[in-house]
Assembly symmetry: C2
Homo-oligomer: 364 residues x 2
């Protein structure tokens, strides 16, 4: 309902800072999904075009495209790509193929719920008429994927507008990982608030946690904020607490990969630590996320599946083995922050506060 | 007083796990200081021999030798090396030279007080007689440096014995940076407790925070614990909180670079964050340090000088530039943990608990 409403708005295309689009369908029905390969940033700005579901799956798994909203959009297009060769099949056989490719794409990364949310939206198209024309059905699927992408931009812009006045003029904001234009079609979630506040003329400093092990804060958040002319300083993740103790942080804002029915938030590993230290220092801690990040089928955060990434991401740093072979490494990609530590969740429909199961039920 | 007592004990030489000594004087009065170059670990085990104060200064600044106790010992030998060419000077001119080299060595790193503590012990030798024989004076300085090294091993072993029964049998211990054999002459401070507990037959798991930006936890702590046969797993620093929330950590123990008169502790950046999250989860947080780490001339931790390290340590990861040029980096080497978050300080003279200014005054 919200996303249908949003699709009537003019999409505010164009990434902040003049960056290329995070991901974009190019070339009509015979085209492909062009993504900005984020594993190469900030050193190289390179695009790659995916023509198959397998290429999209690999791009999601390898974090060439990442960020919950962006991988939702990528998977929607991936489902179109994976079923395109079967446009001449019987409708029922085609629908079975859609389901098969959908399940495959959902296996790329387990935590972000936006992926399965977008996939289900595309699948739903196949159940709305088109019973006798598979080509038309596929065309409607592609149109729906494009609608999801347009809506993501609108929704992210709206999140920024809803949250911008929380940004402290003359103060400093701490963020973690990348919940920016690079994590969405454009604008981002947490960073959208900063872009809108910056447009409004507010002056503030941003501390970006570098976000080990894959350094999305250092590589991506600093890159896009600096490109947009926002004052950004990268810190090691463990430095946040001492900055807070020194009174140098006025607000923390992060994105989310999945939000349970009670408001517990799964987000990049390290988020929970920031929420605890923010609470200790009395600093507000906000989560910014579209409604598509809520998973009301999951009662609380402890039931959210947490992706375990390869040990090698910790053991090898840019090609150098830094951990002795006989030692282990433990590499969860996400952690869960309990609702009680979150001051508000900023959505395209407004601010959810306090973050409780009851409030979330009323909100939806 | 304590260290004089300790020097009567037989030194338990030999690093755990059969590693080469962290640092050792080799070759008599014309010899040099041989150090294990820790910047190359864990990939390469290479020794280098310092023959001048400048080489020792560089080794300390570049973290080839690091850890508060170890750099104290290194500086003591460095003072001998830097004054050796002046052994034929008049005693007063020689003493002036000793002071000059002492000030120079103290400039290598500002936070660890063990450095100036060791330097002052060597300087004090020049004021105890020897007024007419500079060669004899220098020989006594070298003997004092060797005594400091021997005592460090004894003191560290004693810290382990004092603290070992805090280690939870069947549980898990979290540590940060490297407060092990590699940070001292041998045994370490925090890790000495683990080595002694391991000798006692306790079974436990260690989580080592990798310790960005220079990865001493990943490179050094995992290396020496694994070599000693202790079960060790490296985590990203920001993962600690979620392990605690999951009940997977029963104790935190770290070392210290300087302890103020009120018990506030300066230690590797990230220590304070761990203390806050440990408190939040009701997990005991211990500091293990020799008495030489206390600086009773400093009232509280906010007055401890905090070394700022180069931005490049964050901006470049093993040779790859990961932060866009237009973004800044903030790289303090240490943070301060207030005494109130520390359950006890484990010293060679016993456990200091609760950690208060009054208790510390009585302790000394």
């Amino acid at each position: 309902m919200v996303s249908q409403g949003a699709s009537h708005l003019a999409p505010p295309w164009g990434a902040p800072g003049g960056l290329p689009a995070t991901l974009e369908w190019v070339g009509g029905e015979e085209g492909g999904l062009r993504i900005l390969d984020q594993t190469l940033l900030p050193g190289r700005v390179e695009m790659r075009v995916c023509q198959t579901a397998e290429e999209v799956w690999e791009a999601i798994r390898a974090l060439r495209v990442r960020g919950a909203p962006a991988i939702g959009v990528a998977a929607a297009f991936g489902l179109c790509l994976g079923t395109r060769p079967f446009r001449d099949a019987e409708p029922d056989a085609f629908r079975a193929k859609v389901r098969e490719v959908a399940d495959y794409l959902c296996s790329a990364r387990p935590t972000a719920v936006n992926l399965s949310w977008a996939i289900e939206r595309i699948y739903a198209v196949t159940e709305q008429g088109f019973s006798d024309d598979t080509r038309k059905m596929w065309g409607a699927m592609l149109a729906e994927a494009q609608a999801i992408a347009r809506e993501d931009a609108v929704v992210c812009r709206r999140i920024g507008e809803v949250g911008a006045d929380l940004v402290p003029d003359g103060g400093a904001v701490l963020t973690h990982c990348n919940a920016g234009a690079l994590a969405t079609v454009t604008y981002g979630t947490a960073l959208s608030m900063l872009y809108v506040a910056h447009e409004q003329g507010k002056r503030f400093q941003v501390f970006a946690g570098e976000t080990r092990p894959l350094l999305q804060g250092a590589r991506l958040t600093a890159f896009e904020l600096a490109a947009a002319g926002i004052d950004v300083t990268v810190i090691c993740d463990s430095t946040a607490a001492s900055l807070m103790r020194a009174g140098r942080v006025q607000m923390v804002v992060v994105g989310a990969d999945r939000i349970a029915a009670n408001g517990d938030v799964a987000n990049k590993i390290g988020t929970y630590s920031l929420a605890v230290v923010a609470k200790h220092h009395g600093i507000p801690f906000y989560v910014a996320a579209p409604l598509s990040t809520f998973d009301l089928t999951i009662a609380d955060g402890d039931r959210i599946p947490i992706e375990q990434r390869p040990e090698e991401e910790i053991r090898n740093v840019c090609g150098r083995q830094v951990v002795a072979a006989r030692a282990g490494c433990h590499n969860p990609a996400f952690d869960v922050t309990p609702a009680a530590l979150i001051n508000a969740i900023i959505t395209e429909r407004g601010r959810l506060k306090p973050v409780t199961a009851e409030n979330i039920r009323d909100f939806f």
